[in-house]
């Protein structure tokens, strides 16, 4: 339980309802988009370039005002809040980092606490601890300027800056965009483990499908300003709302299925085995992808007192049956 905007509530919630944004250029950047996000959830906005993801995000911290519809936090319309007050409660990671070139790393991270008039020592302590959590050695980087950092390091500073004042809401616009694919996977995994993110509302924008499926509790797929589908990863994979959703996921469909489905999801379709002692034991919470990667040959999973045989064939067979049974 947290207190947001001085009103005690059970959980924080953002409600976006029927929001539309036109730009002077004539294009409708966002068309009638609605969604809700609750505390502890990570909503990923996924979609093609120019799909309206950034615009949607920026309407939540009032960098852009919607032309139609409304947005509320904890039931309170954000138009009734001071923009500066609202923004200091919302962490924001920009698509191009937007670090202040004339501030050191430490000063950049401390911007919002400073605006909130924290004590100097408290700001410094907080900033240094965030640097450590994000694997930026304070000894090495605290007093350097952004242009002396690599793109990836800059993005971490951007993330630290957004987290500094421990805001209940975090908006992230392609936070890992500047990373090479390998580093990206590592950083993503670290990110998932960050205790800083627990109990926050995270809205994360990306056009990387894998990232969306890995990080999102729910995913909203946007195209040309409209929300094509909003649902859990499983919803998008196995119950695509339209042809666009299907096509968008098509190239990675197989890999996504393996990563999204857990062993326990398909446990009923795996064959039983009594084949002595297993050479490898899996947890039911492991994904099929992990199960496959672990057991090049064969492995056995214990589930509710049953022993199930796991190998390439049995998994593929089970997934096929799972889909049929939907």
């Amino acid at each position: 339980m947290r207190i947001f905007f001085l009103i005690p509530v059970l959980s924080v919630m953002i409600q976006v309802s029927h929001v539309t944004k036109f730009f002077d250029s004539g294009a409708t950047a966002v068309k009638d988009v609605s969604f809700e996000v609750k505390e502890g959830e990570t909503l990923v906005l996924l979609g093609t370039s120019g799909g309206g993801k950034t615009t949607t995000l920026r309407m939540i911290n009032r960098l852009i005002e919607p032309d139609e519809g409304s947005i509320s936090i904890d039931g309170k319309d954000i138009r009734q809040l001071q923009p500066t007050y609202l923004r200091r409660k919302i962490g924001y990671v920009l698509q191009n980092t937007g670090l202040f070139p004339h501030y050191t790393v430490l000063e950049n991270i401390g911007v919002v606490p400073q605006l909130l008039k924290w004590e100097k020592t408290a700001i410094e302590k907080r900033s240094r601890s965030l640097m450590e959590k994000l694997r930026l050695s304070p000894a090495e980087y605290a007093h350097v300027y952004p242009h002396q950092l690599s793109g990836g390091q800059q993005q971490r500073v951007g993330l630290a800056r957004a987290l500094a004042a421990d805001p209940p809401i975090l908006l992230m616009d392609e936070p890992f965009g500047a990373l090479d694919p390998l580093t990206r996977i590592n950083v993503r995994q670290e990110f998932r483990k960050l205790d800083e993110l627990h109990n926050k509302i995270v809205i994360l924008v990306t056009h990387d499908v894998e990232e969306a499926f890995e990080l999102g509790t729910r995913i909203g797929l946007m195209n040309q300003g409209s929300m094509q589908q909003l649902g859990t990863p499983k919803d998008l994979l196995f119950r695509p709302a339209n042809a666009f959703v299907q096509q968008f996921l098509q190239p990675k469909q197989f890999e996504l299925e393996l990563k999204t489905l857990l062993v326990e999801d398909i446990i009923n379709w795996l064959p039983d085995t009594t084949n002595g002692s297993p050479d490898l034991t899996l947890e039911p919470g492991n994904s099929c992808w992990e199960a496959l990667a672990a057991g090049i040959n064969e492995s056995v999973v214990q589930y509710n007192g049953q022993q199930k045989l796991v190998n390439g064939n049995t998994i593929l067979e089970a997934i096929a049956r799972y889909k049929k049974a939907l």
Binding site: R58, N61, L63, P83, T84, Y85, L86, R87, R88, Y92, L94, Q95, N96, T97, G98, L99, F100, P101, H102, Y103, T104, V111, V112, L115, Y145, R161
Partner: protein, 522 residues
């Protein structure tokens, strides 16, 4: 090498004045830049937020910049009088454009993702400005201030034209007196100031602002300090103020003589000839140097102080004629001499007033004068020969040439062509010697000091007595150039000190000694 030594000598002799001028110059430059910063930077910030205003504001500042500096100073006189005020305002207007423009472009040039991030973090407009936009735009803004400062060091030399002081006093004095040393004594420090300020501001510009954010506040302090220099000379200002042209300031038969012969110790400002009369009329000055027959003496209700110790050489006007012409047409001598004694100082002033100030045609003024004095006769239209009359570009010459033309054509069978507006003394005189002219009106003082240039001792022995000067020049011209000085016309167009008529009456001051007495015993 000789040139260099004399420059050093000059600087040594005039070091007090040079320091004062440099301080004034620095003060003028920085006080105007300071005001321009105080107004230009906020204006630049304003137009980044109200973009519709930007073209109007930048356009206005741009127009200001294109007005020639001397004209801009001229516009200021009716509004603000003379002295520091109009100079500072004019300099301020010059400094405005680079400062507004650089503030504007500096802030507009800040990476939009950075300002967006600042807003997204929850900064107010004011915090965005002070924490992000201004620090990041600072190098560009400083470049603008730097440009403005260098421009103003240059333009501030012109402040000497409107009695605001500065290094322009030496520069324009040097130009007027054809004294290179004096000119360099003003020009070199001015150039050095420009280089010095440019360098200092460039150091400032390349400082690391992220590290020095707090120390940046000393910048305005430095500016204020430098600006306050200007107030120093104002502190010892006396009640009676004299405005002298740069030329007059540097001449023995000018300010130097006033000091050494009369012992006059008056607070002086250097001022341009064209502005001087207006300034005394508007009581911004109390005494000026002028020429005694200038039409503006009448126009502005002034009167000439008597030169009771004779430091100003006599400049009596008389026609000078080639002897060859007189032999060929002897009848013209009597005709030309008939003018002698008819025009005294105040008559000449009146005539000049009508031409210079009332903008009447010189030919009409000449005819009116002759008619009034019963000298007018209708031209005979004879064709016995042609007399070529020249004149310099100044007022006296135009009118006299016209008068002589009418006299000759009315009283003889000769016709006349006039060649007026022949520039300076040297040009007209050469034309006469080379038989391109037959005659022109000249001044005895000019004949002595400019054309004959005898040794100083001889000049000193002659100068106090107008008759001696006349006798000397007419003798020399006859033997050396075969040119004859006819009878003087009567007026003396010399340097003169003048004051407002009402003041002379009120204070009972008629001559320069009385003025000295009044000024020195206060």
């Amino acid at each position: 090498m000789e040139e260099k030594e004399t420059l050093l000598d000059f600087i040594q002799q005039q070091s007090g004045k040079l320091v004062e001028q440099t301080i004034t110059h620095t003060g003028l430059t920085f006080i105007s830049v300071l005001i321009a910063v105080a107004i230009g930077v906020p204006l630049g910030i304003l137009i980044t937020r109200k973009k519709k205003l930007s073209s109007i504001v930048l356009g206005f500042a741009g127009v200001m910049q294109t007005i020639p500096s001397i004209a801009l100073l001229g516009f200021m006189i009716p509004l603000l009088g003379i002295g520091a005020k109009p100079a500072i305002v004019a300099l301020f207007l010059y400094a405005l454009l680079p400062i507004i423009r650089n503030t504007y472009t500096g802030i507009i040039g800040v990476d939009p993702t950075v300002t967006e991030a600042a807003t997204g973090m929850g900064m107010s407009n004011r915090q965005l400005l002070y924490k992000v936009q201004l620090p990041l735009a600072m190098p560009v803004i400083l470049a603008g201030i730097r440009t403005a400062t260098v421009i103003n060091v240059g333009v501030a030399t012109l402040a000497a034209y409107i009695a605001a002081g500065g290094l322009g006093e030496f520069i324009f004095g040097g130009i007027a007196l054809n004294n290179t040393t004096m000119m360099l004594a003003g020009a070199i420090p001015a150039a050095l100031l420009a280089i010095l300020f440019d360098w200092l501001l460039s150091r400032l510009q390349h400082l690391n602002f992220s590290k020095l954010r707090r120390r940046l506040y000393i910048l305005p302090l430095i500016l204020v300090l430098l600006s306050s220099f200007y107030l120093l000379p104002e502190a010892y200002e006396s009640k009676v103020k004299a405005g002298f042209t740069p030329e007059f300031m540097g001449r023995q038969d000018g300010y130097l003589g006033l000091k050494s012969v009369y012992g006059l110790n008056i607070r002086t400002v250097v001022i341009n000839d064209m502005i001087m009369y207006k300034a005394i009329y508007e009581k911004k000055l109390d005494v000026i140097s002028g020429s005694s027959t200038d039409g503006r003496v009448k126009a502005f209700d002034l009167a000439v102080l008597k030169d009771d110790k004779h430091i100003f050489p006599p400049y009596y006007a008389a026609p000078i004629v080639r002897e060859a012409t007189l032999e060929q047409y002897p009848e013209i001598e009597a005709v030309l001499n008939s003018l002698s004694g008819t025009i005294n100082d105040s008559v000449m002033t009146e005539l000049n007033y009508r031409v210079d100030y009332l903008k009447q045609d010189p030919a009409r003024v000449a005819k009116d004068f002759l008619v009034a004095n019963n000298l007018w006769k209708a031209p005979r239209g004879g064709n016995k020969g042609t007399i070529r009359i020249g004149s310099k570009i100044f007022g006296d010459g135009y009118i006299l040439a016209n008068i002589y033309k009418m006299l000759i054509e009315g009283n003889t069978d000769l016709s006349v062509v006039t060649k007026t507006g022949l520039g300076g003394t040297k040009i007209v005189f050469d034309a006469l010697v080379n038989n391109q002219l037959d005659m022109y009106p000249e001044y005895t003082g000019t004949g002595l000091l400019v054309l004959l240039t005898p040794p100083k001792q001889l000049v000193d022995s002659l100068i106090a007595n107008s008759q001696q000067v006349y006798d000397y020049v007419s003798g020399e011209f006859r033997t050396r150039f075969k040119i004859k000085w006819l009878k003087p016309i009567g007026f003396n167009n010399t340097y003169a000190l003048m004051m407002r008529k009402e003041d002379m009456k009120k204070l009972n001051i008629q001559d320069i000694s009385a003025l000295t007495n009044y000024v020195n015993h206060r």
